[in-house]
Amino acid sequence: MKIRVTLNREIKEIEISPDDYLSEVLRANGCKSVKRGCDKSTCGACTVLVDDKPVLSCTYLAARVDGKTITTLEGEQEEAVKLGQLIVAEGGDQCGYCTPSLALTTIAMKRELISPTEAEIVHYITGNLCRCSGYVAQLKGIKKYMGVE
């Protein structure tokens, strides 16, 4: 079957199988920032934005996004660089496998939450697991990006 989507501001028609998951369809279409980490929507590495809301694409059927707007980190490079510099400056990047999805979730959070508390920030991004960093350095960078002390 064919789906028609706006992927990173470009209108695209993509041929899919009805049982394809969105993560694999996006990776096959060049969006390699979308990672597979757990296959069960538990680690957050596959996060993408569907109509500006973060979803876990590894268990999200691609057929569901027909007619919708999809954003991956490839489509948010300007914000990714701003946030990335703050995380890298703290040494919070480490292996980096979880960071594209963390960055995308954070970018969505900045658009959604106004002056969040630290606890609200942590709650918003807690579905994104990182095994390397211990989270502290990443949070420092994210708070700076959010403009929160």
Binding site: K40, D93, C95, Y97, C130, C132, S133, G134, Y135, A137
Partner: protein, 760 residues
């Protein structure tokens, strides 16, 4: 210049964070065949017959391979320096399957869906055998996990497959019997550590292809490119010259990628079909088909005087190596060698056996035996303190070694005193500073918060290695380019640790150029120099020393070139921050780079770990316990670490925070749970609990002022030690708060609550 001891950002950081395609599966060719593995559905069975005919007929299937189709070779997947100490007890595909998850067949197809469809059509006729599921009784079990006659070891390491023993390690140090005779107090306690998983975020991944000359190229997320080259060549019956291994960015490893779990299968398919092939493990396969931390059972005896002078230890250990003996003996010996080495005693004994069971294999995981053994030793130290009515920190102060003292290594090797003398050993500083940071004296042993909540503090010390003595080696090649910039080639494998950046910092410091004038590339066995790989906390200390030596050699070489160009004796050439000068004339690196286009300058140097320069750590924890529910919250976790002088202060801190959080996970909730049937119950992140962001705001890290003279720019290691103090410190903090001591990890609320109810 001060490029070392700074917070330089990681060279690859921006590309990683912005989602560039840099990991193995991102780079695999689109046309690569997709490989899936049919895995055993039994814990222990012999394959009587296997019918792949229907699977092979599925359109899009390139090949289906069984044990009849692959070289009949037994070897080990453990990535260790040749000759590997691990038993050669694994086959790419074997007639006997030894755990639920063991590989039975390789299916290669044009898509994952086709491969999975074909997998369902393979018919396997098993003769089911009685499995060995309890490691504590495995030695007396009637079933033999490795009955095959062709399993072997390169050298004696206690391998007795007829008794299900993969490896054994026994050592006596000093006069431990005299120590016990002189003791007023003798305690014996049993402790147990569980199976935990490295759980790096990037799954195990490999792709393979034949290059333009027909050689096999293996691109893999591996900590051990050179070991992979050796093992793949051997497994495929190829000369090593016909194999090239490339490591792109690695999305975490923690030891899991020190065992070659995925490389053989695509390599075999590429050789059979001539086509590129790729494999990418599901998370479930990582739990059920790679390696985990060896579970350990300890019986520990300690003797001390009433005044708190520890006289002797006696430790018996059994570890569960699972179906294969990967890292079995060396995890045991790594445990024995150092866990009692920083206490001054008359002596100690260690008697350990790593046994086979029909569980998934155990392997390397951050801490590598010292995490398990340290838990036992530090726990009995805490219990001894209580027995003597002494503060646990003060008991440590009476018994620890100091700079100038010698490590009492648990090994039968006799080392030169230069090797064991501790030039840096800031345990006392770590202990005192940690005590201050947590405000020990106002909190020890406990503070009642309300009728239902109580807080307690606990502490522990730790040691690790900085590379493996006389075994770990690393090399660095440095090339001067036109325009005066340098290329640093290494085969240490940055898995997020930042070693590419750290090693480039050292090179830039030595070469007296800005960090952006040193490009770093790792690793490609055709291009980069030999390195054992990044494991055993070796990259900073061992490969770093090679980098420093190579950098110094580069400057000397360039000075001699300048001397030739200017026709002066080399002694007259002075180098300072990118400029060579002889009297009044100068030559910049930039100009020299162009001149030397006609004579490429490349230097290489190597280093073998030749000194015991372990890092040390004191960990302090404060917990709060809900007496109504058994919930245990960690409120504060302090780590004071002597890792020598950190090369990169940010990266060292973040390594520490990450490792300490993994330690909390191990102490309180991470565990592979096995049903009575032997099945692993929680092979996913839904049920295997990793620490999340909400568990994480509690780690505080400081470094002891320390400069290791044998390390590059004063550095020792940091990567592994940081996981070590959480379990014993948390166990004692809970005891201090409640009087309940849980001696088998993890200390879950239910385990704790059950004991609490029993005592009430």
């Amino acid at each position: 210049m001060k490029i070392v001891n700074s917070a330089a950002p990681k060279k690859d950081g921006m590309k990683l964070v912005t989602g560039a395609p840099v990991y193995t599966d991102d780079l695999a060719p689109k046309e690569a065949l997709v490989i899936k593995l049919l895995r055993s559905e039994h814990h222990f069975a012999r394959i009587k017959n296997i019918d792949t005919s229907r699977a092979e007929k599925v359109p899009g299937v390139a090949c289906v391979l069984t044990h009849k189709d692959v070289p009949n070779k037994r070897f080990t997947r453990a990535g260790q320096t040749y000759p590997e100490p691990s038993p050669q007890d694994w086959k790419m595909l074997d007639e006997i399957v030894r755990y639920k998850g063991d590989e039975v067949a390789i299916i290669a197809a044009t898509t994952e869906a086709i491969a999975l469809k074909a997998m369902k059509l393979i018919k396997v006729d098993y003769e089911v055998l009685e499995p060995v599921l309890d490691y504590k009784t495995a030695m007396a079990h009637a079933s033999i996990v490795h009955p095959e006659p062709d399993a072997f070891t390169h050298f004696e390491f206690g391998f007795k497959p007829e008794k299900n023993i993969a490896s054994a390690y026994y050592v006596e140090v000093g006069d431990y019997e005299k120590g016990f005779e002189e003791s007023d107090v003798i305690l014996t306690r049993n402790y147990e550590t569980q199976a935990t998983h490295p759980a790096m975020m990037e799954p195990v991944a490999t792709y393979t292809y034949l290059d333009h000359t027909g050689r096999l190229v293996v691109v893999s997320s591996t900590q051990i490119p050179f070991h992979v080259r050796r093992m793949v060549a051997s497994a495929m019956d190829l000369p090593m010259s016909q194999v090239r291994v490339i490591k792109p960015r690695i999305g975490g490893g923690f030891g899991c990628k020190q065992t070659s779990a995925s490389e053989f299968f695509p390599a075999m398919v590429t050789l059979k079909t001539g086509k590129p092939a790729k494999i990418f493990y599901t998370r479930k396969e990582i739990f059920l088909g790679t390696t985990r931390r060896h579970p350990f059972y300890f019986e520990v005896k300690i003797g001390a005087t009433k005044a708190g002078i520890v006289k002797a230890f006696d430790v018996k250990a059994i570890s569960d190596t699972g179906a294969y003996g990967e890292h079995a003996g060396t995890v045991m010996s790594a445990c024995a060698e150092k866990i009692m080495a920083y206490y001054k005693t008359e002596g100690y004994r260690f008697d350990g056996k790593a046994v086979y069971t029909n569980h998934v294999s155990s392997g390397a995981y951050r801490g590598y035996g010292k995490t398990q053994g340290g838990f036992a030793i530090e726990s009995i130290m805490n219990e001894l303190a209580h027995e003597l009515g002494m503060d646990p920190t003060e008991l440590r102060e009476k018994n620890i070694i100091h700079p100038g003292d010698h490590l009492r290594l648990g090994t039968s090797h006799v080392y030169d005193e230069e090797v064991t003398r501790q030039d840096t050993c800031e345990l006392e500083y770590c202990l005192k500073r940690g005590r201050e940071m947590i405000d020990w004296y106002s909190k020890y042993p406990s503070v009642k918060v309300s009728d239902t909540k109580v807080r307690g503090v606990g502490m522990a010390l730790a040691i690790q290695g900085s590379g493996v003595l006389n075994i770990d080696s690393g090399s660095a090649t440095i090339k001067l380019n036109s325009d005066g910039f340098f290329t640093l080639l290494i085969s240490a494998t940055d898995m997020g640790t930042g070693c590419d950046t750290i090693l480039a910092q050292m090179a830039a410091e030595s070469l007296q150029v800005p960090l952006d004038q040193v490009n770093v590339y790792s690793a490609d066995t055709d291009v980069t120099p030999y390195d054992d790989g990044s494991y055993a906390s070796s990259s900073t200390y061992v490969t770093g020393t090679a980098v420093r030596k190579a950098s110094e050699k580069m400057i000397e070489t360039l000075k001699s070139e300048v001397a030739l160009i200017l026709s002066v004796p080399i002694e007259k050439v002075v180098y300072h921050e990118g400029v060579f000068s002889v009297d009044d004339s100068t030559l910049t690196l930039e100009a020299l780079g162009y001149k030397l286009n006609r004579k490429q300058i490349v230097v290489t140097d190597s280093h073998v770990c030749d000194k015991e320069a372990p890092p040390y750590k004191a960990g302090f924890v404060e917990v709060e316990i809900d007496l109504e529910t058994g919930k245990i919250d960690v409120l504060d976790f302090v780590g004071v670490i002597d890792c020598g002088t950190p090369i990169n202060t940010n990266l060292a801190t973040v390594q520490a925070q990450g490792g300490m959080l993994q330690g909390i996970g191990m102490a309180l909730y991470e565990e592979s749970e096995y049903a009575n049937s032997g099945d692993e119950k929680n092979a996913s992140f839904l049920t295997y609990k990793l620490p999340s962001r909400k568990d994480a705001l509690i780690t505080r890290v400081e470094f002891a002022p320390s400069y290791e003279p044998t390390g590059p720019y004063g550095a020792k290691s940091i990567g592994e030690i940081v996981i070590n103090t959480a379990s014993p410190a948390i166990m004692d903090a809970i005891f201090n708060a409640t009087g309940i001591r849980v001696r088998n990890l993890p200390i879950t609320p239910s385990k704790f609550y059950e004991l609490l109810k029993q005592t009430e």
